[in-house]
Amino acid sequence: MSATLGEASRVRITTGSVMLPVEVRNHQLRLVDRGVSGLALQLAPGTYVVSAPLPDGRQVARAVQVHAAADQTVDLGAELDALVWTARHPSDLAVPAPGGEPGTVPPERALQFLRLRSLDKAVADQSPVVEEVRRWSGGRSVLVRVPDRGVYFARITRAGQTPLHVALPAGGGDACLLTVEEHAGAPRVAAVPAHERVRYVSEYLAGGDAGHAALLLAGGEAGAAHDTTAGPVGAAVAAYVRLRLGRLDAEPTGTEDLAVRADWFPDGAVVAGEELAMRGDHDRAAAWFLEAGDRGLPVFTDGFSILVARLRQYQANQRIRGRLAPAQVARIRMLSARLERWSPFVDLGALTLTVTAPELVQPVESREIPLRPEPEQHAIPIAPLIRRLARAANDAVHDRPAPVSSEWASSEAGLRCVHREAGPDQVEIIIEWTRPVAEPSAVHVRVTTAGTTVEYLVILTLEASGRWAGDLLIRGAGESVATVVLGLRATASLEADDVEAVRRSVNVTARAGRNAWRAVARARPHGDPVRQAIVTALQH
């Protein structure tokens, strides 16, 4: 500081109840000092600019007059309160209210949780708990707690649109915040850790401001990096900040400990590998990168990006490749090829891994369906029930208004789909398959109703007309129903993983379809889980 002790005043800078990076500049806008809220420094008399940069790139600032020997506190809380502090993607989101019951939110969207078992498998999982849905700054945020140790994704769907999968930065009891932005009718979802300090550090990191993220990490009574309540996710965020800035401490920073302790967490292995790679220890780094692939997809986009880049480097750099075992090189090649299939579908600007694709683990394959055009174009919205009621009220001609129905057909696709009202809050979905069917088959469909999206198998039966057709009766349809046809499945290909889909499909199958399911069950061996599921469902 440029002040004699006799003239200088002690100036303390606060930012309300929030801890933020703060900076002080003199009247020539030269930097005097920087730190975090609570920063106190000795300043000579004069005019200074005190500012706090925000994660979204804005800043709050105040010009401050410092008089000789006159201590003061400068609180930027008022300026902060005056701002609409937006997260990267604020939005509306249709989610189940706490407790799992449908909330009073628009039914156009649905939220599901998936657990990533491996790079090849993701399964629906109900264990993440929605603890709170909060409206803030014109958007909505959802607090989700993930009790189990594992990699989880939020899957956000809307009828007729490609689903969005967002990795949840939580696990082992941690919580995270989801916010969603609506842009041109499509959702953009962001997820940040719920732990306050980690959340703010993550926001700065997401905004590309690793420098201020590092200030927050280092500042305060206990930096986030040492805050034991931050968990492995917080530790990984701190590591990514350090790695972004290329800061390698003289001593190891504990990333390998993190990778060992949190043995379910791909990012732990990624940051351990990256730190070793930055130090030039590529042999050990390669082992950790392969371990990361065994654990699944990294939760953070930085982790995915680091993994892809390093694996490419290790294939191309002869010096490094020469030090690795041939088996390692082969695994690196396979993992690299596997990960790069996600690259085109990843939002590289998002903090956590965000994949826009029909299926999370098969982003390329799930776009390659036997039907043309793209599956999203098969979505057939039914006229909302409320419109039906309005029409009936004005329709004095008919004793009973005709049920609302909609139809979509394509000779090129070999499909005809009908939605038909079938009673109060019930919709019948009829699928006709106009091409030859060589073996017992079911049409795999995804049906979105009020607040939910569910996949069914529509068993096909041969009708007198010579066409193959099947139908479902969906209850609780709400105001709209949308169906996406995903493809044709031979019933002989059904496996244990399909048991839940089979069970709920049989439950909603009407008439001739139930006999077809009986035939499928009889054709399968005793003890077969699919047979058992069909039999159980038929009994109800």
Binding site: L29, Q59, G208, D209, R244, G246, S305, R341, F345, D347
Partner: protein, 394 residues
Amino acid sequence: MTPWLDRTGQHPAGAPVTHALVIGVSSYTHLPTPQAQPTDDLLDFGLVAATTPATGAFHFARWLRDRYRPKAPLATIRLLLSPSDSELDDAELAAAAAEVPRARRSAVREALLDWHRACVGRPDGAAVLYISGHGASRSKTDHSVLLEDFAADERVMDYSVDVGKVHRGMAGPAMPQDQIYFVDACRIRPDAFGSYRNLGDGLGLIEEWDGQDQRAAPIYFSAAPGGVALGEPGRGTVFSQALLRCLEGSAVDDFADEQGRFQITATSLHKALEQQVAMLAGELGERQDVVVGGQLREMVLHHFEQPPTLPVTIGLQPASATTLALADLWDSQHEAAVLRQRRFERNPMSWTVPVGLYSLDVTIRPETPPLRSRCGLPIMVTPRLPHPQVVRLA
């Protein structure tokens, strides 16, 4: 390859200098014209030729030539352009395009190696790469940008630049430790690229270095899943327009350096570029993001000889003071006047002044209680401050 700009003779041998490589590809020989429909040939990736990347690349090269002030002075610009027919309506661009090689594989390969050779042994110098065209991103570091002769044969990706390979090939203690990369590429359709990205290898540099990488080497690129980089014919891509606005002043950092100069840093550029791209894309009714990859150590990209100018917006409360108020803007020491006796033609009112800290006097004339004049109000003119700054007169 003969550089488009060569000032090496102006600097002492061995002095730290900056070498730049700029590539802009709008014209694609083996793709349909911009107005045509994409073909069914899967190896075309569903693309047609572009109309704006070469303009953006040329504008950036021109800024480097005329305005760039890095720590290590500019020595060379290697420029390759493949403009579209419509871009050749710009006489200056057409003249430049006539002087420089087309952005085809063989010429780009030579330029890359030439640029690399010029940079070797200059750790105190700097390197700049700007490349614009159709492309795809695998990670925050690995981007492929397609060249003019893309799809000349089945090994389509041979006719591309692999920016990740270039980035890694520029690592090592003998290379400039300050590097900056701009990748302005619209994203190829995800499903097409996912299926066919392995058809060939993009141009790069030999990746030899395996030790610690101490560079500051950020890569700025446009990112939107499945989205295309936006552009306006005649004005260049949104990314290039935003970049030029940033370099002209809106990316100035909030701090002056020890010599009192204002500068653009890697972080201040990212923040400003995000805002400018979002603003320009928003004017087109679209959304486009900017992401930074590579190595993010802090570096100074450019400094201003004079503080850049920015708008300062002053709002008066109550609004009834508008017709009665006169503004005098002084330097922070209240010694030199910057603006004198300015009326508020509207409320709030904006003036353009150099970045800095000022002292504002607002005089109510004639005196009209309860309105009262105010003197010595500190006014900040720096980027990223919310506007307007409000003066209460009652």
